[in-house]
Structures are given as structure tokens and as C-alpha cells.
């Protein structure tokens, strides 16, 4: 007890002369351990949190930016010759300036309600037309796909009957459906939507079915012991247990429908981003095509992330 009390007393005494700071001899003494602790913290003062977060974000994005810049530089260098078949980035910028800078061309705003007037519309309008078709076709595919997936996942008989059929049909390329679709629906709009539907539904069905089949038997037993009715079993156990699989299917499905719609619109014409590409090719506006490619890539990426994000949110909540 005594010795520790002394030590404390010593320590608390030591800094006093130092802070007083008058006599030269005292200042040269090595500072005691207690006194060094606060001065140690000072140099490692942490940056504000926002700056730190921005730094981390920059570190994550920077490699991508460098790669893109490098690719653009190589592209520019390789295609800068006057007769080059592929336009260089700077040529795209000058020749397609209107397409890049006015994506909403042809849209008139009455208050906040937009309306499209005229046939020559901006690229964003084409994208939105395509997105609306995807929304309808993919929405139908999601509903029907989850329903059929649950059916063949749950019933062995249905699985035996339908699975071989699905396995064969899913390998048919989307465009192969187009002639049939056009013949049956006669019009561009419904046959495009059908094409999206028939493209997106297979991964949804097969992943949902796999998810239902993968429900651990103990969860089923919990449902049986609790005597849940089929609807309760579906909402309380099957759905939450299958959500991750379902969204894997939906994510693949949305990606495939985006692939299919461009092809479908190219063939059919009229409106949509696929038509835009075909139209620019026919008008020898290759620079416009390249701008459209960038848009398609970014929108497809966004769709994938949105579906993935919804899936994660639901999985957390359910």
C-alpha cells in the first residue's frame, strides 16, 4: 500500500515543475510514464469520419477509374487514324454530342408530368420504353416462375412431369421464340413482352424449385408439429426459407431479359433501345451505337444491383 501511494505521489509531482517550466535542469529530465500518455495520442489524431469514408471509397473506385482511363487512352491512340473503322472516343464525343448531352430530347414537361412528343426522342426515352417492357414481362415471369417453382419443388409428381420439359425449353435462345411470338400475338408490343417473359422465367422456376427442395427437413417438421395450414406454411416457413434462392433466380432472370429485349427490339423496330441501336447502325451513326452500348451496360448493371438489394432486404426482414 505504502509503496504504491508513494509512486502515485511521485508521478503526480513530477510534471508540476515541467509545466512551471522555469528552471532549465528540470526540463531535461525524462518525462514520467504518466505524462507521456496524452502526448502520445496527439500525433495520431484521427481524420474526420467523412474524410476517412471518402478516402476508402476513393481507394475502392480508383483502380477502376485508372483501368477505364487506360483503356480509353489505348482506344484513342489505336483509332485516331483518319480512316479508322472504329470511331475513337474523341470522335464519339464530337459526333454524338447531341445524343450524350440530351438524353431526354422530345420530352415535354407539363408541370412534372412528362409527355413524349414527336418521333425523334432522346436515348433515355428509348431506355424507359425498354424498361417498361422488361418490367411487365419480367414481372409476369417472376410471379409465374415462383408459382411453378414452388409447385415442382413441393410435389415430386409435378417435378417428374415438368422438370424435363423446363430443362429442354430453357436452352432455347430467346430470339428463336420471336417468330412464334410474332405469329401468335401479331403485334410488336405483346410479342416483345412475351419474349422477355419466356426468357426470364426459367431461371426463376429452377432456382425457386431448388430452394424449396433445399428447405431443411426440420423446418418442415416444425410446420407439421405446429399443424400450420398450407397457406401458413407457405408464408411463415417456405417463403422465408426460399427467398435467397428465389432472388438468385430473379437476378439471373432480370439480366437475361435485358439481354433479350435489345435483340427483340432490334428485329422488330419502332421504339426502345434495341431499335435505337439498329436505327443508328442503319444510319451509319456508329458513334451513337457506342453511346447506346454504354447506357445498356449501366442500366443492366443497375437492374442487377437493384434486384440483389431487394433480395437482401427481404431476406433480412423475413
Amino acid at each position: 500500500m505504502l509503496s504504491t501511494a508513494n509512486a502515485v505521489a511521485n508521478v503526480s509531482h513530477m510534471p508540476e515543475p515541467a509545466t512551471a517550466g522555469g528552471e532549465g535542469v528540470v526540463i531535461t529530465l525524462p518525462p514520467p510514464a504518466v505524462a507521456t500518455a496524452p502526448s502520445k495520442e496527439l500525433p495520431v489524431r484521427r481524420l474526420p469520419r467523412i474524410v476517412e469514408a471518402a478516402g476508402e471509397a476513393a481507394a475502392a473506385i480508383l483502380p477502376t477509374i485508372v483501368v477505364i482511363a487506360a483503356l480509353l487512352a489505348v482506344w484513342q491512340f489505336a483509332c485516331s487514324a483518319p480512316g479508322s473503322a472504329l470511331p475513337s472516343p474523341s470522335r464519339i464525343w464530337t459526333e454524338s454530342h447531341d445524343v450524350i448531352m440530351h438524353p431526354l430530347k422530345g420530352v415535354a414537361f407539363h408541370g412534372i408530368v412528362p409527355s413524349v412528343d414527336g418521333g425523334d426522342v432522346g436515348i433515355a426515352v428509348h431506355i424507359l420504353t425498354s424498361l417498361r417492357r422488361v418490367a411487365i414481362g419480367f414481372g409476369l415471369a417472376a410471379v409465374c416462375g415462383i408459382g411453378l417453382g414452388v409447385l415442382i419443388g413441393q410435389s415430386r409428381l409435378a417435378y417428374r412431369a415438368l422438370d424435363p420439359l423446363f430443362q429442354v425449353l430453357r436452352t432455347v435462345p430467346p430470339l428463336a421464340w420471336l417468330p412464334i411470338s410474332l405469329a401468335v400475338f401479331q403485334q410488336a408490343q405483346p410479342s416483345t413482352i412475351f419474349l422477355i417473359f419466356i426468357t426470364a422465367i426459367w431461371p426463376v422456376i429452377l432456382n425457386t424449385a431448388a430452394g424449396v427442395q433445399a428447405i431443411p427437413p426440420t423446418y418442415r417438421n416444425v410446420g407439421r408439429v405446429l399443424a400450420l395450414n398450407p397457406l401458413q406454411y407457405f408464408t411463415r416457413i417456405m417463403l422465408p426459407a426460399t427467398v435467397p434462392h428465389m432472388f438468385t433466380g430473379l437476378r439471373i432472370g432480370v439480366g437475361m431479359s435485358w439481354l433479350a429485349i435489345v435483340a427483340a427490339e432490334m428485329v422488330q423496330g419502332g421504339t426502345g433501345i434495341g431499335f435505337f441501336i439498329w436505327d443508328s447502325y442503319n444510319s451509319s451513326l456508329l458513334t451513337d451505337t457506342i453511346v447506346a452500348l454504354v447506357w445498356i451496360g449501366l442500366v443492366g448493371f443497375a437492374l442487377d444491383r437493384i434486384v440483389g438489394w431487394i433480395g437482401r432486404r427481404i431476406a433480412h426482414q423475413a
Binding site: 416444425v222 407439421r224 408439429v225 405446429l226 399443424a227 400450420l228 422465408p240
Partner: protein, 266 residues
Amino acid sequence: MKTRSYLALEGISVTFPTRKGPFTALDRVDLSIEKGEFVALIGHSGCGKSTLLNVIAGLTKASRGVVFLDGEVIDRPGPDRAVIFQDHSLLPWLTVEENVRLAVDQTIKSSRAERRDWVRHNLELVHMGHALAKRPAELSGGMKQRVGIARAIAMNPRVLLMDEPFGALDALTRASLQDAVMDIQAKTNNTVVMITHDVDEAVLLADRVVMMTNGPAATIGEDLRIAMPRPRNRIEVAETREYNHARAEVLHFLHQRFSNPIDQAA
């Protein structure tokens, strides 16, 4: 006509179809359990203990024979026979409270507030009242099984079925859960059928230890009554003659009369 026990298994045989032909797991099992009795089923792996429990639960259909509970024939699963599974089988997307709530909503018909209080009361009983909003993934194995127990007893079952409830836990956690079960059992006086591999667990917890012969075509080999007074304290009973005698009997049955089939083969 003879009077039946509260839970009566009469001539239960279970045969599974396999590729090599039918496999008889259980052969003419008769077992009578009185109301409020705690019965431990013990036997080597693969002796059909779990099959027998599943027949009582209604999860497996008996090929022959009948199970009566309180005079009624059992032919399907139901919440009057709550099961505590070895892997606790809590639903990972529900919180602790919601897991128990799901079971209570299915079995207890009363007002919302009363059901909520009942859920919390049962979670307090297993000392999990502090973790209502946690998800199973945030709990230790022992805590998960405590919630599993709360879920089962909250259903006010006529029979509580435990399928190796503590098999996946370490020895110390297991002991504390055994104490919890004895504590609850003293308050609720449930009728319990518990499967176990653990001789000490069987003797400490049960009123009767039912020993099963090795499969295939397993049946009941011996039925030993444990006449130790309750409440039982694991340290005190370990020194009593009854405890050590019962323990020796069970060990003798399991390791001499019906030793592990794998050891026999070797």
C-alpha cells in the same frame, strides 16, 4: 376391456421400404406411460429410438400398431405433442420471441396481450427473457436449445417429446440445461418422453429408463424405474446407492447384454 395408460403404444412396428427390400426398424413395441411421467429412451445409435419418438409425434406412420394418447388414436402430427429437436430447429428469420410466438399462436386461444405475456413468461422460465429481440444466429447453442424448450412448453402440450435435446452441447452447458428441465418439470409436471445417449442424463432426469435392443427389428429390452425422490441434485444423488445402482444396470444393458453393434462386428 383393460384400462389404457395416458400414453399407450400398442404393438408398434415400423418397416421402411429400401432398395434391398423392406427394413424393419421397430418390431412390436409396447410401452405405457402415465400422466406426468418422465421417461428416458436409451439405446445405441440406429436402434430406432428416434423412429419411435417420431411415431408418437405422428411424423412417422407406424406400419402396424396403434398409439393412444388420453384414449384417442394418434395418426398425424399436432401441437398437443410438442417436439424439442436435437438441432433446436428455430426458424432463423424469426426473433426469439417470434419463434415462440408462432407456436403459441397456433395452440393458445386467447387475447393478443395474454398470448404475448405467455410467450414472455415461458422465455423467462428458461432464463431467456433478456434475448427476446435476438435472432437464433446471435445465440449460443445452449441458448438456442433453451428457446427450443420454451417454444415446446409454451404450447401446453399433452406430451413433451425430446429428441436428444442436449446431444449437440458441451458437457457443462448440458448440465445447466438438464437442471433447467428438472426445474421446469417440477413446475409444469408434463408427461415427457426423452431420447438420450447419456446414461447419467437418463438416470438423473427420468422416472423410468426404457432401454432398447439393437436394430434392426429393435424393441424394448428393459424398463427400469428410478425411484429417487425429487428435487434431485446432481451432486447429492451421485453419491446415493439408488443412483449408482440404476446407472450400473443401464451400463450393463448397453455395454454387455446389447453392446454397440459396431464393436460386435469388429
